[in-house]
């Protein structure tokens, strides 16, 4: 059995926190370039060119892309043939977040208790989703999530009879309500099926799929394309100031569900859709 010291996980998470907050992934940069080509509104084009300039400054001067450096969401796929040694896995992830956010001059945006609201001072804890998978590798995906867009996310428990039209209406409702608050142009993560909590996790995970890649399920791919087109007809535009590009991608993940239900989660993300993956 392969042994892996959790110190390696701490080290990777630390570096990924700093990387994700200063260097946007190539898929998102391509999406922004495409958005700029497509945008017709003059103010929309100006916003998009400023967002590109912002990315350049962030990389060159090591200033976070956005001051909301997010709550750290971590997806771990742990191979069942890996023996983790050297400490507790969750604590190792949190230590990586602590080091990344402190040494990387990232904002500490986490409060210990949702109602008492005292800042933890180091951006921990992370939200960790762990899955045990075949193999002897550990995949870590880190997605720091800003709350301007997180606050505009929704879960809809639809009736099966509402079907695909119900899903479309739910996504469009969430996007329109989000409007300028979610720092458009957005990326829209959608989870369909499962249970109440499963669809929300799927929606979050969908945001980590590179923008521009589609589902392998033909009807889901069509749905992604149709929703993107319809979202871009709302007129919200870059910065919410009016225009043709309101979203750069709609990413959908599905899961089996119960005979009585059709859960749909819409996780809205801003143009700073940060996600980095590493395999150990």
């Amino acid at each position: 059995m392969r042994e892996l010291d959790v110190v390696e996980i701490t080290k990777a998470v630390k570096e990924m926190c700093i990387e994700a907050n200063h260097f946007l992934s190539p898929d998102m940069k391509t999406a922004l370039n495409k958005a700029e080509e497509r945008e017709e509104s003059p103010v929309g084009r100006k916003v998009l060119s400023q967002l590109k300039e912002n990315l350049r400054i962030a990389e060159e001067e090591m200033i976070p892309i956005c001051q909301d450096t997010g709550m750290a969401v971590v997806f771990l796929s742990v191979g069942q043939e890996v023996h983790l040694v050297g400490g507790n896995l969750t604590e190792a992830v949190n230590e990586g977040v602590r080091l990344g956010y402190t040494e990387g001059y990232l904002r500490k945006s986490v409060v210990r208790d949702p109602l008492i609201r005292e800042n933890t001072g180091d951006n921990t804890p992370a939200v960790v989703h762990t899955e045990i998978v075949p193999g002897d590798r550990v995949d870590i995906t880190l997605a720091p999530k800003g709350f301007g867009s997180e606050n505009m996310s929704r879960v809809f428990m639809l009736k099966p009879a509402e079907g695909i039209e119900g899903v479309k209406a739910a996504v469009l409702t969430a996007v329109k309500d989000a409007g300028p608050n979610a720092c458009p142009p957005m990326v829209v993560g959608v989870g369909i099926g499962g249970t109440f909590e499963k669809c929300a996790i799927l929606a979050k995970k969908a945001l980590t799929r590179p923008a521009g890649e589609h589902s392998d399920i033909p009807y889901v791919k069509e749905l992604e394309e149709e929703l993107l087109e319809r979202i871009n007809k709302t007129g919200i535009g870059p910065g919410g100031l009016g225009g043709r590009v309101t979203a750069m991608a709609v990413n959908i993940l599905t899961f089996p569900t119960h005979i009585a239900g059709l859960p749909v989660a819409v996780n809205i993300c801003c143009h700073v859709n940060r996600h980095v993956t590493r395999t150990l």
Binding site: I65, G179, P180
Partner: protein, 183 residues
């Protein structure tokens, strides 16, 4: 139309601003977000003074990332303004002149803007690195214990913003949506 303006704005400046105008602001602005607004509101209800002279002031809804050594500030873009809607009308009635943030405002805030001849600007959400370049000085003046949520006095030069709600109550978000919606 691009306008270069000095803060505090004069009443003529305010009257000349229309929803959709691009502005570059120079002068002093104060940062405050959720926790600082809650404290200011508690101070007011106890009859205490606010940490800044609110008359003619500009408040930027922003909590920066930490400054690297030798830098003035870290990333410094706007946060969602609607979370401050509960507090903004009282501050506007006390003389708050400009709010800078991102996103929609409530009808109560829009009415208080019109009633007091104020203005709501949006800065570009998610452009914190770019916006930090317009900040020349930053000093915590109150609620230091709140960390990123402390009140900071910023000196800005040509800080880019867009008029979203002007002193007549016109709302750019609503108008531009109508212009570009093709559903």
């Amino acid at each position: 139309m691009d306008k270069y303006l000095k803060l505090p704005l004069t009443s003529e400046d305010i009257a000349s601003l229309h929803a959709g105008d691009s502005v570059y602001l120079t002068g002093v602005i104060y940062t405050a977000r959720d926790a600082a607004h809650k404290r200011m509101s508690e101070a007011l209800s106890r009859g205490e003074a606010l940490p800044m002279d609110i008359k003619g002031a500009a408040i930027y809804y922003m909590g920066p990332s930490p400054a690297r050594p030798g830098r003035v500030i870290g990333s410094a873009g706007p946060t969602t303004a609607s979370r401050m809607d509960k507090y903004a009308p009282a501050l506007l009635d006390l003389g708050l002149q400009c709010m800078i943030g991102k996103g929609k405002r409530s009808d109560e805030v829009r009415e208080a803007i019109v009633r007091n001849g104020a203005v709501y600007f949006a800065a570009i959400g998610g452009a914190g690195a770019l916006l930090s370049k317009a900040i020349d000085a930053s000093e915590v003046i109150a609620y230091d214990d709140l960390g990123t949520e402390a009140i900071r006095k910023l000196t800005v030069k040509d800080f880019p913003a867009i008029v979203v709600i002007d002193s007549t109550g016109r709302d750019l978000y609503k108008e531009s949506l109508k212009e570009y919606c093709v559903e």
